[in-house]
């Protein structure tokens, strides 16, 4: 048996990895940062957020890796230009220059290329302070656009006018665009008369260094001895094939957290609660709904099924079957809506004297107060949980009854029942002693198969009655793109699921002497 359990566990490791991969991948089909911040966030905030959320590493490997880094083309200003296909903005180039404070017109030039972006954005930093992020339509060749000027034999397009307070100008261009982004040369032209424009090219650092003005600004340290620099981020990484370790990605980071049972990751929502806290809060709430529901519906379902099987083929049986099928044909949601209306809303509207149930909400009814003092107030449970439990029982009874009846009916056709009848055992004795014992096996299987849903909670009931259990938290997290919570919950749920399945098999073998685990 232990070999069986061990083999099952081994077999389920790839399954578990698959679950985590599937969920993480599905959540990342749209860039989670944009899903979280909205489309109009500035590049700077996006970068910061990405770092804070632990998303700066690729999910598994960077797709951009396959498409290659910035490519150098032998055209354009200074004899070369850097080109990168449009994408998620993880690839960037930075021009940095030491300047005198003052107002500058920003101009750019680039060689003509097919498929160029219409919205290539350049984030302008005044030292470390982000200013504007003007966009350039690079699909219109320089010289053909409105307001293009010619300086020193090259056409330039002016795209912004910025006042710099500090002595460092930094311009960052990313590949977040709808087409090819071309990074060639930028000119900073002072609006004041009598000062020379500064040209920043990808190829040469320009001329006219002025080291005397450096050293005051934090941004200046990165500059070369000539006071200018150009850097294309992403190149180093892709140049050495796995400059970033193969394991340094979000998937393995998450796996390591899961397998070390580290639940310290925090929610992305404003309260920034840690995952462990959310789980610890939510699970008891879900359990106080699901445990009573499963117990009650199983007991009631078996009783009805026994009655049905006892009167098999007669009116009582038919009516019960018809009711079960009818009940199954109505949406769960309708039961909930009317259950809440008649159970809680209507009595409240009529100011009835007997109002046992709250319309929605949850209040702790068992546990420890902060001081460590134990409390147990079943009244609270009745007020907040009993109505959802009753609705849940009513809904699941239809399904349970049908299943258990099928089991019982099949059992009545067996030879041992015929033997018992032939021996002269009474019908009730046959039903309750001989049959129920043998029918326990499918019953146990079914009950066990519902166990994983104990902690999932009934999502619908929790959403409708606003009980902050697992289901409620999970759906809210999905709706507010709170990915750490979604991933963490799915990891816990799936682990629980796999363990229960294995347990079911083991229990099955323990109960049924005919079953051998192999």
């Amino acid at each position: 048996m232990w070999a069986y359990v061990a083999r099952k566990l081994l077999y389920n490791i790839p399954v578990y990895l698959g679950i985590l991969f599937l969920v993480m991948a599905a959540l990342r089909v749209n860039d989670p940062v944009y899903a979280f911040l909205g489309k109009s966030a500035s590049q700077d905030i996006i970068d910061t957020t990405r770092r804070e959320m632990g998303l700066e590493t690729p999910f598994l490997f960077d797709v951009a890796f396959w498409r290659g880094p910035w490519k150098e083309r032998d055209v354009g200003h200074g004899g070369s230009a850097m080109v990168k296909g449009g994408g998620n903005g993880r690839f960037k180039v930075t021009w940095t220059a030491a300047i005198e404070p003052g107002e500058y017109e920003l101009l750019a030039t680039w060689p003509e290329m097919s498929g160029a972006a219409t919205d290539a954005g350049i984030q302008v930093f005044d030292s470390a302070r982000a200013t504007e992020r003007p966009e350039i339509d690079q699909s219109i060749p320089v010289g053909e656009g409105e307001g293009d000027v010619e300086v020193g034999g090259t056409s330039w397009r002016q795209f912004a006018t910025i006042r710099f307070e500090s002595r460092t100008a930094r311009l960052v261009m990313t590949n977040k665009a709808d087409g090819r982004v071309i990074a060639d040369a930028i000119m900073l032209r002072p609006t004041e008369e009598g000062r020379e424009p500064i040209v920043l090219d990808n190829a040469d650092a320009g001329d006219d260094p002025d080291p005397a003005t450096l050293g005051e600004d934090p941004g200046a340290e990165a500059l070369g001895p000539d006071g200018r620099s150009f850097e294309a981020v992403g190149n180093e990484w892709t140049a050495s094939k796995f400059g970033r370790s193969l394991w340094d990605n979000q998937y393995f980071a998450f796996l390591s957290r899961v397998f070390t049972l580290n639940f310290e990751e925090r929610s992305w929502r404003s309260d920034k609660r840690p995952l462990g806290g959310i789980l610890a809060n939510a699970i008891p709430k879900s359990l106080s709904i699901t445990v009573p529901t499963i117990i009650l519906s199983t007991i009631i379902g078996i009783c009805i099924a026994l009655i049905s099987a006892y009167f098999r083929g007669r009116a009582a049986d038919r009516i019960l079957v018809v009711i079960a099928v009818f009940g199954m044909s109505i949406s769960y949601l309708v039961y909930i809506i009317f259950g809440q209306y008649w159970g809680a809303a209507l009595p409240q509207q009529n100011n009835a004297t007997f109002q046992p149930f709250a319309i929605s909400g949850y209040e702790g009814w068992i546990g420890f107060r902060e001081g460590g003092e134990f409390y147990f107030t079943p009244g609270m449970w009745v007020q907040y949980c009993l109505l959802p439990v009753m609705i849940g029982v009513v809904v699941s009874i239809g399904y349970d009854t049908r299943f258990y009846r099928a089991v019982m009916v099949e059992e009545t056709n067996r030879d041992y029942i015929v033997t018992a009848t032939a021996k002269g055992a009474t019908k009730p004795k046959i039903m309750f002693v001989h049959m129920l014992k043998n029918a326990m096996i499918p019953v146990i299987t079914r009950v066990m198969s519902t166990l994983p849903f104990l902690i999932t909670g009934s999502i619908l009931l929790e959403m409708y009655f606003r009980i902050p259990g697992m289901g409620f938290e999970l759906i809210n997290a999905i709706n507010s793109t709170d990915f750490p919570v979604v991933q963490g919950f799915v990891a816990v749920l799936a682990a629980f699921f796999i363990v229960t399945i294995i347990l079911t098999d083991v229990l099955y073998a323990l109960v049924d002497p005919r079953v051998r685990l192999s």
Partner: protein
Amino acid sequence: MALLEVRDLHKRFPKHGGVLNRVVGNVHAVNGVSFDVNEGEVVGIVGESGCGKSTLGKTVIQLLGATEGSIKFDDQELTSLSHAEMMPFRRKMQMIFQDPYSSLNPRLTVRQLLREAIRFHKVVGADQVEAHIDSIIEKVGLRPDSKDKFPHEFSGGQRQRIGIARALCLKPKFLVADEPVSALDVSIQAAVLNLMMDLKDEFGLTMMFISHDLKVVEHFCDRVLVMYLGHVVEELTCDNLHADARHPYTTALLGANPIDDPTQRRSLTILKGDVPSPYNPPPGCPFTTRCPVVKDRCHQEMPPLEDKDATPGHRAACWEVEGAGVASSAAAGEG
């Protein structure tokens, strides 16, 4: 020259277990079987259920891949052929199955069933397919209007005739009949056997006839191989089966068959115990657990299949059978 030559054929089915579900053992269904089938001959394979005779039949026509050994058909080694290379041999070697209920696809009419096979192998020209189907159906003794019926509209005997038609419509040279009549009522068995006999002559077939019923085999075959737990324990001609049988297992099998002459008295050996598990066979001769004449040597070494007397084509695998008419038949016969 033999049409089919089987040499030292082994077929093992792996058994999985353990934590990593690795192969932990083998079921040795066919264990070092060698025999020839000559052109025009009918060779019977006899043995209890589970002795590997069906597996042997299926391995011979390459429904199952052999684990070891060689199968030569028309002087061509079959075990190493690819699916495409095997194609001409598929047409020449066909099989009749045991269960007439599961051997016909319930969703195809007789016509579709036959047409599919005939077209696939281009047995006749496209314009003659229907005529060929008609002639085959007539030959197996079915009414012409049964062409468009589904299998479930036929009785067991008729279904077996459809199965024979499916095999014969490809005009094969060699036919493996895997207990073709054992699932049929006794009253129908004879009719189907007679039909097969007629067709054998008409088509010039060579056959391997698998059965657990020595009576049927004696009636139908030229030669018989007796199998026990994956081994051929005795090979003998059918002309004088009772007199020739030497191996204690064969004599026991013969004893289990009723004899149609009440005046003839005969001895009866009743085998005790069960067939040992093929997963865990006893060492030495596999028959030791039930053999009435078992000796120490039998537990240590598997006896080879070799000529024991002057009768041509008679071989037995038993240490106790020495030369003509020595051990077992005498021992069993007088016991």
